[in-house]
Symmetry: C2
Subunit: 152 residues, 2 copies
DNA sequence: CGCGAACTTGAACAGAGGTTGAAGTCCAGG
DNA sequence: CCTGGACTTCAACCTCTGTTCAAGTTCGCG
């Protein structure tokens, strides 16, 4: 029960009211209106906002987040099954994001720390999806054609 | 040896020349100039750019990336020891970023999937640094003061 | 040397992700 | 029922991360 005003929702979610209006304009959250045209939010909006903020901080765009949230039901409050479906769909994406960070971390610890100082020959820097994303041939970690290490 | 033109560096790094000029204006990479005022880059710039791109994709800002790169030596090509020092300094930051993603993933799989449908009571949603960051009291995951689950 | 491709700077533009302010309206406690 | 704080819309503005364009200069191959 008890719908939230935008101010209450903002305070509880730890974001500015203007950000919530912005998310709503982008279709990431929705509200009902009072007779006097003020927004009122369901409690479930709180979870959507927490979801949005967390996803943003790990490098996902509002567009991508919105696409995920759009898979939740329109008319009714999302159920456990709804969120679980979203969860299953997002696991690969989140795991990929984790893999990217681990790659960066391990590239620093391993590749660069290993002595060859090369980002090219090391097995840890695998170019698979990297290349698909850049769409311009195998470039990113495939520098220099001669095999000497990059040290000065 | 053999310095790179901005075009060659851009091609090898998989970014646009304009992006490299932008990074240089922000102090993230540096170059020497020819007699005719054209930029020439050391091979080590390639690693800096690869580092920048990877770090960006996991949600770090250029400012934060630049601060890390600024710990590398100014005058000379970074050595193994230099990168290892940067690596050690960044590990906690990267691990924190991984933790955030895992938290998002597990929140979906666990907290929401567990049946309580609450982001509040679950041990997985720990508010520690969350709150320090928001700087405005314990808000983000501490919704609703009554203990009923949030389901409709 | 000559010529075209690649380079230079600076300014304007783009899009994401919001914040701020003005001018006016609503709502709830006293 | 009155009043002040919270709400409304809309437009302008902000930062970040670049891209594009114009006008002019340099580089290096033949």
């Amino acid at each position: 029960m008890s719908l939230l005003t935008i101010g209450h929702l903002a305070e509880r979610a730890g974001v500015a009211p203007s950000a919530i209006r912005f998310y709503e304009a982008k279709g990431l959250v929705s509200s009902v209106r009072t007779a006097g045209n003020q927004r009122r939010y369901e409690q479930s909006s709180l979870r959507r906002i927490a979801f949005i903020r967390t996803a943003q901080r790990v490098g996902l765009s509002l567009e991508e987040i919105g696409a995920a949230l759009a898979t939740l039901p329109d008319g009714r409050t999302p159920t456990k099954a709804d969120w679980q479906r979203l969860s299953r769909a997002w696991r690969p994406r989140l795991d990929e994001q984790i893999r990217r960070i681990e790659e960066l971390r391990d590239r620093l610890d391993g590749c660069i720390g290993c002595g060859c100082l090369s980002l090219r020959t090391c097995a840890l820097s695998n170019p698979d999806d990297e290349m698909a994303e850049l769409g311009s041939g195998p470039v990113l970690l495939e520098a220099r054609s001669d095999p000497r290490p990059i040290v000065s």
